[in-house]
Chain length 313, copies 2
Amino acid sequence: MRYGFGIDVGGTTVKIGFFQENGILLRNWEIPTDHTMDGKNVLPDIAASVAACCKEADIPLKEILGAGVGVPGPVDHSGTVNRCINVGWGIVNIPASLSPLIGGVPVAAGNDANVAALGEAWMGGGKGFRSMVMATLGTGIGGGIILDGKILHGAHGVAGEIGHITIRRNETVPCNCGKCGCAEQYASATGIVRTARRMLEENPLPSVLRKKDSFSCKDVFDAGYAGDRLAENILAQVYDDIGLFLADACCVIDPEIIVLGGGVSKAGPRLLEGVRERYRHYMFHAGRDTPFALARLGNDAGIFGAFKMLLEQ
Amino acid sequence: MRYGFGIDVGGTTVKIGFFQENGILLRNWEIPTDHTMDGKNVLPDIAASVAACCKEADIPLKEILGAGVGVPGPVDHSGTVNRCINVGWGIVNIPASLSPLIGGVPVAAGNDANVAALGEAWMGGGKGFRSMVMATLGTGIGGGIILDGKILHGAHGVAGEIGHITIRRNETVPCNCGKCGCAEQYASATGIVRTARRMLEENPLPSVLRKKDSFSCKDVFDAGYAGDRLAENILAQVYDDIGLFLADACCVIDPEIIVLGGGVSKAGPRLLEGVRERYRHYMFHAGRDTPFALARLGNDAGIFGAFKMLLEQ
């Protein structure tokens, strides 16, 4: 049996998983992300942590399979990330920078949303399927496309950016990406709150949401699930928006399964069913019965996917 | 040097190309599509024509590389087509049915729009690029996705159906596919005429298009290119619609190149430039500079792609 690492670099912590070749997670832990000096300590900190783990497990560093690394930014085919604002990096070639620090073993790098999708395809909600569209509904909307068990990166690292499919041409407020009308503006956790605020303003119906100075995405789901009529209308709009951009993506890819992850997906099977009904409405007939699943690995999707990416390299 | 056939089955004629292994087209011709008796003569007619060509070229049938076949219907991984209305077929496994009629050589089958996209990627507008999104703007809108030089079929033969991306949720008239608001309803040749009729009704501006009892898609482009103001507005709307669904598709795939083909693409570089400007507006920033090209093989794209599909099998 051989061993390797799956590493998920985030803005606050770096998650590290120590894996057997067959995908068994032996140990996982976190270290803080050191933003000082443009993030120059991040890779050395990872290397030290990896080396300590190998020493403890009594495995020479040079004998490990290597490390896969997911990072919060666009990554090209050479493993070069072009600006990670949350980490402090400018342009960094991850394999060239990290590999010499861990005995010259192979290093693979990819975008964190894509890597998390690969993790879910390998050991989570998409397990057993060869192709998958995944939407990570969090603060923003991340996406990942898996084809034949591998990440589709695209020519500019843009493949799978399904949160930036335009679903409203008349939007005047810009998305974080700079353009207007992206799915992320309506169906991410922040987008759902925004949708709710707009519908509360436009609509005279009473609602428990009006009684709060501010409310969260979870509050909207809680109110809707509890039978608050206006919150139900808001959720219907959200399901319609998510169903639409997923159908658009699936017209292009036609995957074996669609997986929903991220914080919003904690709204569970009722969310899934609501989205699926609208997906079926918008989807080309031959792809209408594509199954849906919830993500299953939670915050571990990144380390699983990062290790799998190394294996697939 | 070895030889093979690329075959494009259409509703009126079957186009057949006789190729050298290196992609040189030696000869091409057409035979009529015999719709009688649920199209049961179509494959035997193809086999006879292929056999006659080999005899003339003095090549034993068994020594050819085989035949690739594009058909106007959804084709699964086994080469089984599920209803070709234009041909009369129900469920037909093309390789199992055709191969025994031509000496048992390999036969590959695929959807005609996908196969035409592969032809353009191999020897046409997408030559030299490894990944491509192609939109065939004809009576309907066909699409094809090429990744790593191969057709993306999808789990249900739906991949690349970019003409059925929903671009208007408030549409009440159904598309030929049964759902409402598909790009095909506005930006195919028939869709452009429909868009023009609607805008002529809604708008008081004078236009040369009002002087005709009926007009074609070409008439709309001719009027717009000649400076007719209302026709210019119609074309601006059409460019916006095409730019939008292409940006949606490219957010998902992120190809190296985008190719426009089909009858509408005869409107040429001005169409391409108009669409590209709107594509850039709707596209996620990192993919905004993806190049556009016009298809180059015209009606021969299908035979080129069919032969290439055989080579890639």
